[in-house]
């Protein structure tokens, strides 16, 4: 009897090991086309610089006011703080001693020279889709930067998340290396868009829900960005002005704000019309999800009265008594309409609350060099007042989203802005 149990346990163990070995995220090696692919010549460097914009590498690897790509920015995650490293070609503190294969191994397999597994705060589950040729151009560009001496700061991750064993287990569950495979039936634009959105653009890092272990889900159906405290909405789009929004930061439907203002300011505004168009083709092809638009119970009358009074006092001058917003003399977007505004429709009210609390400007772009700004109301309105005015805007002019409570507002007062 005892022997049978032992045999059974043995079989289970062998099967488990076999399964783990089969699922193991093996490093995948694809050789360079030729050493010419990462040679330090103008064509490679310019293409690499463009791709670095598309991947918004600077968002993490450049600290505010610091030297480009010299690292040092802290990325706060629910598991602790990850420090972005220096990726300039300094031999000791940067990637100056790396080969093109080393760079590929980091980007595609999430493995640093010496075999150290990298934390997926570096979005290699997306970057693994990047082709070897593009990786080589990126490498050529980074090697062309002036080397900066800036030693990597240690991460501050809570146990057990900081261990290599935990990372190995995470990779077993959630990571499989593999370059983007085009779907010929979808056409060139769709495939280029999918390659940029799902690969370098790493849009799913924010626009997909993350599970308890920080892995992004499939699809781009929206998710709460942990720690930063913004909701990245679904990217499934039926917006005819999507390309304009991505390129300039504003469209007749509204303006980008919060972390997306940074994405447009640092990354998307620098991409070509062709690439922005391709991304729009891909995003408008995603299956729509109706979950965001279920009409909710209207807020109580007293709350609507208070909200309406505050709206008249603080908001109506720009957004209009009827929530229609305003356009510039050329018909271009000025003050966004709130009637039918998608941000106000979202079931999760965090973005509307934070826009009222923090205000802000859309980014300066070629298409919108002098953006309009929204005043911050955190110094002026208390939690109950913010809740009332947001509830009012979410339930007026055809909007029908649920009311917001003062407690929800209060939770977002303390989120660090910088």
């Amino acid at each position: 009897m005892k022997r049978r149990i032992l045999i059974a346990l043995g079989v289970v163990l062998v099967l488990a090991i076999a399964a783990a070995l089969l699922a193991w995220p093996r490093a995948e090696y694809i050789p360079s086309r030729s050493p010419q692919a990462w040679a330090p010549e103008a064509g490679n460097i310019a293409r690499g610089a463009y791709l670095a914009r598309a991947g918004d590498c600077a968002a993490c690897h450049t600290v505010r006011g610091g030297a480009a790509y010299a690292g040092g920015r802290a990325v706060d995650t629910p598991f602790g703080r990850v420090m972005a490293p220096n990726i300039t070609p300094d031999r000791e503190t940067g990637i100056g001693a790396w080969s093109a294969d080393d760079f590929w191994n980091a980007l595609h397999n999430g493995i640093a020279p010496g075999g150290r597994l990298l934390y997926p705060a570096f979005p290699y589950p997306n970057y693994t889709k990047v082709t070897r040729d593009d990786a080589d151009a990126l490498f050529a560009y980074l090697r062309s930067l002036p080397p900066q001496r800036n030693a990597r700061q240690p991460h501050a991750l809570r146990a057990p998340y900081g261990s290599q064993a935990a990372l190995a287990a995470w990779r077993l569950l959630y990571f499989k290396p593999g370059v983007f495979t085009p779907e010929p039936a979808r056409g060139a634009d769709w495939n280029r868009g999918a390659y940029l959105v799902d690969g370098l653009g790493h849009c799913s890092a924010c626009h997909s829900p993350r599970n308890g272990l920080g892995a992004s889900g499939e699809g781009l159906h929206g998710g709460l960005i942990p720690v930063l405290g913004w909701y990245a909405p679904s990217l499934a789009s039926n917006d005819p002005h999507l390309a304009q929004l991505l390129r300039s930061g504003v469209s007749p439907r509204g303006a980008v704000f919060g972390p997306m203002a940074e994405v447009v300011g640092q990354s998307l505004q620098h991409l070509s019309d062709g690439d922005i168009g391709a991304m729009s083709v891909y995003l408008t092809s995603l299956p729509a999800d109706g979950a965001e638009r279920a009409p909710a119970e209207p807020p109580p009358e007293a709350l609507m009265r208070l909200g309406g009074r505050l709206y008249g006092q603080h908001c109506a001058d720009c957004h209009g008594k009827d929530g229609r917003g305003a356009a510039g003399e050329d018909g271009g977007p000025a003050w966004p309409a709130l009637a039918g505004n998608r941000t106000l429709h979202l079931a999760n009210p965090v973005n509307a609350i934070r826009i009222v609390l923090n205000g802000g400007f859309a980014p300066s772009t070629a298409g919108n060099p002098r953006p309009y700004g929204m005043p911050p109301y955190s110094p002026v309105l208390n939690d109950a007042e913010v809740a009332a005015v947001v509830s009012y805007a979410r339930a007026s002019w055809g909007n029908a989203a649920r009311m917001v409570t003062p407690a929800e507002v209060n939770g977002y007062r303390a989120v660090p802005l910088d």
Binding site: G65, A326, A327, E329, P363, S364, P376
Partner: protein, 251 residues
């Protein structure tokens, strides 16, 4: 038949709201008010704290009388631009200001600086009767004469005889709330406010005691704006110490 109707109804249900919404949106755009896009309209966000021709600078907190936000109207454009870019690049730390300007271009920041440098607003003045005479006198001496023992030059040596600043980039010191002045000395002392190197005000702040800071802020915040509040047209060179924000002209 049922096999056909259900997907058809579903398709209508899905397409209905989207089509209605698109139509509503087109209608709405047609009826939108038009704005001419002046800087006053674009920069309503700045005026909400710093004040405008129609509304004084905001008090801190709802129902409070206490002033903190500095008056930016009429300060030299070079100074305002330097501060906007200091916030954007992290040399000055006030998270809400960094938040506001972090994605704005140099060109736009210069335009914003020019715009506010040409504004004229009344300034808050603290009632001198409520302040200790000895403290006011110490403050006045530091502002007008400085303290050679402490190696602290007089404020007027750089900020102008009338304390209204000097073109192109030295700010005026009158018309500011006392809390704001105190907070700036605190920020220089603890390293959260920097200017382009060499950071002259950082050095001066480190040589002053807290009592002296308090004396300076008491006197400055209670000194009314002069009849002509515009900055001096130029600096009297050489400056008592080197300043990265007002570098000596190259020979």
């Amino acid at each position: 038949m049922r096999g056909f109707i259900r997907p058809f109804l579903l398709a209508c249900a899905l397409a209905g709201p989207a089509a209605a919404q698109a139509q509503a949106q087109a209608q709405q755009q047609a009826q939108q008010q038009r704005v001419s896009g002046t800087l006053a309209q674009r920069l309503a966000a700045c005026a909400s704290c710093h004040g405008s021709a129609t509304a004084p600078p905001a008090a801190v907190g709802s129902g409070s009388e206490r002033q903190y936000y500095p008056r930016i109207a009429g300060k030299p454009a070079g100074y305002l631009y330097n501060q906007l870019s200091n916030f954007r690049e992290g040399r000055r730390q006030y998270p809400l200001m960094t938040w506001m300007v972090q994605h704005l271009s140099d060109d736009y920041l210069r335009e914003i600086a020019d715009y506010f440098s040409a504004q004229h607003l009344p300034a808050p003045v603290l009632d001198r009767a409520s302040l200790p005479a000895a403290e006011l006198e110490r403050g006045r001496l530091l502002v007008i004469r400085g303290d050679t023992a402490l190696k602290v030059p007089a404020c007027i040596a750089c900020h102008g005889e009338r304390l209204t600043g000097a073109l192109p980039a030295i700010p005026g010191l009158v018309g500011l709330p006392r809390d704001y002045i105190n907070a700036q000395f605190g920020a220089w002392r603890n390293g959260s406010r920097h200017a382009l190197a060499p950071d002259c005000m950082g050095s001066i702040a480190s040589r002053l005691s807290l009592a002296d800071v308090s004396a300076i802020s008491a006197w400055l915040a209670s000194e009314p704006l002069p009849a002509d509040p515009s900055p001096a047209p130029s600096l009297s060179r050489p400056l008592p110490l080197a300043c990265g924000s007002a570098p000596e002209p190259k020979p």
